[in-house]
């Protein structure tokens, strides 16, 4: 239950004022509902009695009739206010929770980010958060309001009607409600967990199916994948069926309890009246209140049936919170320090004269769990305006070196300094403002070309965007596709491999970094285009220190200096 309480506190804390008012109104609604029926029944019976005994002239009709109208209107207004307040507050809290989860996800280590299975993270931020909307609305608030109303009802009935009737009604609802709702929660626990997990598995399988369409069809696996999807669907629907049965059984039991209690109140009232212990109008009041109280239990049925789903989702959402990167979708990696950076504030960097912009000395790095270091006491410096290429076979550590320089990995020993300042002394934002890394597998996002470029900087002007595209020899391609407003599909689909590469480079150029790290920048480009792109990059950033990981002739020829690493 603890995760649910934590979530409830979060939801409450997002808008405590609105929630408090909403909670008060919830009680008002329930009390007014029961009172309206009770007062009406009492009024009619009393009026009938007065009419029979010719005491009609003494009977105050205006009080009760005004009360009936007032309760009717008040209940309606309170209900509207209650729903609006609690739903708005809940949705605000959930939106904030989503943003929070997303932010937390971005702060995870590079390793986590690269291995992240988007579909699972997506489930966490959408489906799991959606599942939490009932915590306040269908569980805690109605439960609390129901209890308060029953306590009030007990005292009012005892005062206005009779202790026996009060005890019968309040105790009956309390015990009956507790037994049935507990049983419902228990019966719904596993099915509701299975239903939600099944729905998430279904979504993951559908996303896999959409993303890997080509591979699945070519290898004849699409039918099997359809089978996987349909199996997840069958699992979900089976669980929902069990859940629905539990809920329907709860409905049947609750209706039966309500009707038994009302029938009992009628019989007890009759017995008291026949003994002369109670006047008929008060007995009628008892019956009608008993009838009116039934309503609040039905509202709790859904919340109790979904208890398992909410608890499960709350657990997952909070899990993400306490351990970023340690969630199930990430391949467990012996956890090396994932980031070499502190979160120091942005600062200005001015190198002393003669200092290289990028200075690497005695750098050693060992892959987690590996025996031999992949980089062994490497030293290298890149001055402003210089282009250095590191070359070496696949797996020799070229990409690792760039990741180390970008502060995405922490070295075992040695130092990397940017304009004379060691990386660990730089804040993440300072570093990103000075240095840009274009990894081998840079990703684009769905949206327009402009939106993709604008990831690099705020307030991107069209002229700037066009210029960056021209620098990477992409202007004609983009113009043919419809210019900056041309839209790309999922993951940037719609561009060829080489075009994607160039757009990613243009995006990096817009950062105007002082140090540019490029991992195989011209992969997928024909030699002429590669040459044009490389020249464009240098022309765009004449003073930048450029370090590339390269094996292609065009890149090695472009570099002023080639440093082979073993």
């Amino acid at each position: 239950m603890k995760p649910l309480l934590t979530i409830f506190r979060k939801i409450w804390a997002a808008a405590p004022g609105a929630m408090t008012r909403g909670a008060v109104l919830t009680v008002v609604v329930l009390v007014a509902g029961a009172s309206l029926l009770g007062l009406s029944g009492w009024f009619i019976t009393a009026a009938g009695a007065a009419g029979l005994t010719a005491g009609a002239l003494d009977f105050n009709v205006f009080g009760p009739s005004a009360g009936v109208r007032g309760l009717a209107l008040g209940r309606t207004a309170a209900r509207y206010g209650e729903r609006l307040l609690t739903h708005d507050a809940t949705l605000r809290a959930l939106a904030a929770l989503r943003i929070d989860l997303m932010r937390r996800q971005t702060r995870a280590g590079l390793d986590t980010l690269l291995r992240l299975r988007g579909a699972t993270a997506l489930n966490r931020i959408t489906a799991d958060v959606d599942a939490l909307d009932g915590v306040a609305l269908r569980l805690v608030l109605p439960l609390a309001a129901g209890l308060i109303t029953h306590v009030l009802a007990f005292f009012l009935l005892a005062w206005l009607v009779d202790e026996t009737v009060a005890l019968w009604v309040a105790l009956g609802y309390f015990v009956g409600g507790a037994v049935i709702l507990t049983a419902t929660a228990r019966a719904g626990l596993q099915p509701s967990i299975r239903a939600e997990r099944g729905a998430q598995a279904l979504r993951r399988a559908v996303i896999d199916m959409g993303r890997a369409r080509t591979e699945l069809v070519v290898f004849g696996r699409m039918e099997a994948q359809r089978g996987t999807v349909l199996a997840a669907d069958a699992e979900t629907r089976g669980a929902l069926d069990a859940l629905d049965r539990a809920e329907r059984r709860a409905g049947l039991a609750l209706s039966s309890v309500a009707t038994l209690l009302a029938g009992g109140a009628l019989a007890i009232g009759g017995a008291l009246v026949s003994r002369g212990a109670l006047d008929p109008a008060s007995a009628a009041l008892g019956f009608f209140v008993a009838l009116g109280l039934g309503e609040m239990l039905f509202g709790l049925r859904r919340g109790m049936a979904e208890l398992g789903r909410m608890r499960d989702a709350a657990g997952r959402v909070l899990d993400d919170e306490t351990a970023p990167g340690a969630v199930e979708e990430v391949v467990a990696e012996p956890s090396a320090p994932t980031s070499a950076l502190t979160s120091a504030p942005t600062m200005a960097l001015t190198p002393a004269d003669g200092t290289a912009l990028l200075e690497i000395s005695g750098l050693t790095y060992r892959r987690p769990g590996a025996g031999r270091p992949v980089l062994d006491a490497l030293s290298l410096s890149v001055a402003a305006g210089e282009t250095v290429a590191v070359s070496g076979p696949s797996g020799s550590g070229k990409s690792t070196l760039l990741f180390l320089c970008a502060g995405l990995l922490a070295p075992e020993s040695g130092m990397i300094a940017l304009a004379g300042t060691p990386l660990p002394d730089l804040g993440e934002r300072t570093l990103r403002a000075q240095l840009t890394l274009v990894p081998q597998r840079a990703a684009l996002v769905a949206g327009t070309i402009r939106e993709n470029l604008a990831l690099a900087c705020d307030d991107l002007t069209d002229a700037e965007a066009e210029a960056a595209l021209a620098a990477v020899a992409l202007s004609h391609v983009i113009a043919a596709k419809g210019g900056l407003d041309a839209t790309l599909g999922e993951g940037g689909a719609g561009l060829s491999g080489g075009e994607t590469r160039r757009l990613v480079l243009a995006r990096a150029l817009l950062r105007r970094p002082r140090v540019l790290l490029l991992d195989e920048p011209t992969e997928g480009l024909d030699p002429e285009t590669a040459r044009a792109v490389l020249d464009g990059i240098r022309a765009w950033l004449p003073q930048a220190a450029i370090l590339t990981a390269s094996h292609r002739a065009a890149e090695l020829g472009w570099a002023g200096r080639v440093v082979p690493i073993a």
Binding site: R69, Q105, D233, L266, G270
Partner: protein, 591 residues
């Protein structure tokens, strides 16, 4: 499988079709009618209960014996339990029917989307929804049909009968009381119709926002590493925040309409009950002396008071279900739009099939594939067992699309592609692909262990030789868990070259007769590229034919021939032999 919807639409036509929702609902109609009859039966028990209560309370005023109250109380409880049983029975029927509809709609959507032509490009297929939006539709939105199916139609059944019965019963006691109900009641459907229109629009907007938020989020999550490197975390969080906030606003708009309309309903119903109570009270006191047939008794008064709220209840149920209907309408329209966008599915079913018999041969003659408003024209060529062909051409000319057409992933609407002596059609596409393997540009790894990702044909073979041939043993050894590791969707956690070698190993494991590879040496250093080329040559030596789309000179040189993909243009030119094939033959070079 794809014709699943036809029976539904046929019976929809018989029963005055009113949009896509009616067609979806058609199979559930019979069950809904049965459940509706049970609900009406249950509703008719309430006047019995009301009469028992009225009889009991009237008895209290005339000092009836205790047995009187006991009988009434017991009768009330029995009738109430009977009513609850009927409700539960009807609910079971409705849920089963709704579940069947959900199952068949899901199956239809899956069947359609699984075969949408992706044209060889991984991810968002032509005209189709993004995979995240598709996931949202199937997992999140389709279930919204269930509340509509289980609530709306049965509520309509009740509304058609119960209010009239209650008015008749009320009128039997007092015509003024009946008048109160008659005046307050019909305003409700009128108001609901107005609200319904606004609700539908708001629901549709909410649906769009759900899809958009999913798509945006999925995309950004896949690019998180880049976002971090570009220092775009804040910008992205802001973008997403705007989406999440947009979803809240849209959801709240739907809820506000729902709350407002149910408030108006409650208002009418509460005022109706209050007026009834006041009218009955005043009549009993003798201050109102009209309306009833004779003098209104206490019992009659109680009876009227108890009937009033139940008169409004079916109307309120229907009103509540209006919003379920609005949501279901929006979902149905999205489904219909998806079905309409079914432009060109892939050939065949994507199923496992026995390989197409006969010696391997491939002939492409004047074929062209529609891409957006233009056409990608395939070069004319023939290919036999063990031959190797390079498809060349500038970036974006359509090399990937040409490969897709050869694999039957994109439909060549003009010209002919002949495989193993027969034209490539829906009937033989699966069997043809059973002889193929594919190395795509952007690898996608399923949410499964690497071993399963490598052995997509589920042959159960040992992956070691294929991994060795693709120079990928080191990649697997470096992964935590080795073959049991799960990779990110696009191979996150390994480099581009490593991912490429794994996809190559996957293709080698399939032991194909023809290997289609899109830029197989991209992202690889010279040495590894040579190793990959050597692996391809070894495959060729075993008799596998190769078609590679590439502009890697080394790879082109290793192939037997190279043909250039002609520039994009009208399809006619592709069929038009003269100019077209002239250019293509001249582009062919013997290696």
């Amino acid at each position: 499988m794809r014709d699943k919807r036809t029976p539904a639409s046929r019976s929809g036509r018989r029963r005055r079709p009113s949009g896509p929702l009616a067609a979806i609902e058609a199979p559930a109609r019979a069950a809904q009618a049965r459940a509706g009859r049970l609900a009406i039966l249950g509703g008719l028990l309430w006047p019995v209960q009301a009469a028992l209560v009225a009889w009991a309370i009237a008895g209290w005023l005339t000092h009836a014996p205790l047995a009187h109250s006991l009988v009434a109380g017991a009768g009330f409880a029995v009738a109430g339990i009977l009513r609850a049983l009927l409700d539960q029975w009807g609910g079971a029927i409705l849920f089963r029917a709704a579940d069947e509809v959900l199952a068949s709609e899901r199956a239809a959507a899956i069947a359609r989307e699984s075969l949408r032509s992706a044209g060889g490009v991984t991810g968002g297929a032509d005209g189709g929804p993004s995979s995240a939006a598709l996931g949202a539709l199937v997992a999140q939105k389709l279930p919204l049909l269930v509340p509509y199916l289980t609530h709306y139609r049965p509520a309509r059944f009740r509304v058609m009968v119960l209010p009239f019965v209650f008015i008749a019963l009320t009128a039997w006691v007092s015509w003024v009381a009946a008048l109160i109900l008659v005046v307050a009641g019909p305003l409700i459907p009128l108001f609901m119709a107005l609200v319904g229109m606004a609700a539908k629009e708001a629901s549709a907007r909410q649906m769009v926002e759900i899809g958009d938020m999913n798509a945006l989020l999925m995309d950004r999550l896949a690019a998180l590493a880049d976002i971090r490197l570009l220092d775009a975390t804040e910008r992205t969080a802001r973008d997403f925040g705007a989406r999440a906030e947009g979803l809240r606003v849209r959801t709240m708009a739907v809820l506000r309409i729902a709350f407002l309309s149910s408030t108006v309903l409650e208002l009418f119903s509460a005022l109706g009950v209050a007026m009834m109570a006041v009218y009955v009270g005043f009549s009993l006191l003798g201050q109102i002396n009209f309306g009833a047939w004779g003098h209104l008794s206490v019992g009659e008064g109680i009876f009227l008071l108890l009937l009033a709220p139940e008169y409004f209840q079916p109307l309120r149920d229907l009103a509540a279900a209006w919003h379920d209907k609005a949501a279901a309408d929006a979902v149905a329209e999205e489904l219909a739009a998806g079905a309409a966008a079914e432009a060109t599915p892939v050939l065949g079913e994507g199923a496992t099939a026995a390989p197409l018999p006969g010696p391997l041969s491939l002939r492409v003659e004047g074929a062209a594939v529609r891409r957006g408003s233009g056409w990608v024209r395939l070069p004319n060529f023939t290919l036999a067992r063990g031959e190797a062909l390079a498809l060349t051409g500038p970036s974006g000319a359509g090399k990937s699309t040409a490969l897709a057409a050869i694999a039957g992933l994109a439909r060549a609407e003009v010209g002919e592609i002949t495989v193993a002596g027969a034209p490539l059609t829906d009937a033989n596409a699966d069997a043809w692909r059973a002889r193929l393997a594919w190395v795509g540009q952007a690898p996608h790894f399923l949410d499964a262990a690497l071993a399963e990702n490598l052995d997509l044909r589920a042959t159960g073979a040992d992956p070691a030789p294929a991994l060795a041939a693709a120079r990928a043993e080191g990649v697997v050894a470096g992964l935590p868990g080795g073959l049991a590791a799960r990779l990110g969707e696009t191979g996150g956690g390994i480099s581009g070259g490593e991912a490429r070698r794994l996809t190559l190993a996957r293709a080698l494991m399939a032991a194909p007769d023809l290997l289609l590879a899109d830029e197989p040496t991209a992202d690889l250093d010279a040495e590894t590229a040579l190793a990959v080329i050597a692996a391809l040559m070894a495959l060729k030596a075993r008799g596998t034919a190769l078609i590679v789309a590439t502009h890697d000179e080394g790879l082109i040189a290793a192939m037997d021939r190279a043909v250039a993909v002609p520039a994009r243009g009208p399809a006619r030119a592709a069929e038009d032999t003269e100019a077209g094939s002239q250019a293509e033959t001249s582009a062919e070079t013997e290696a």
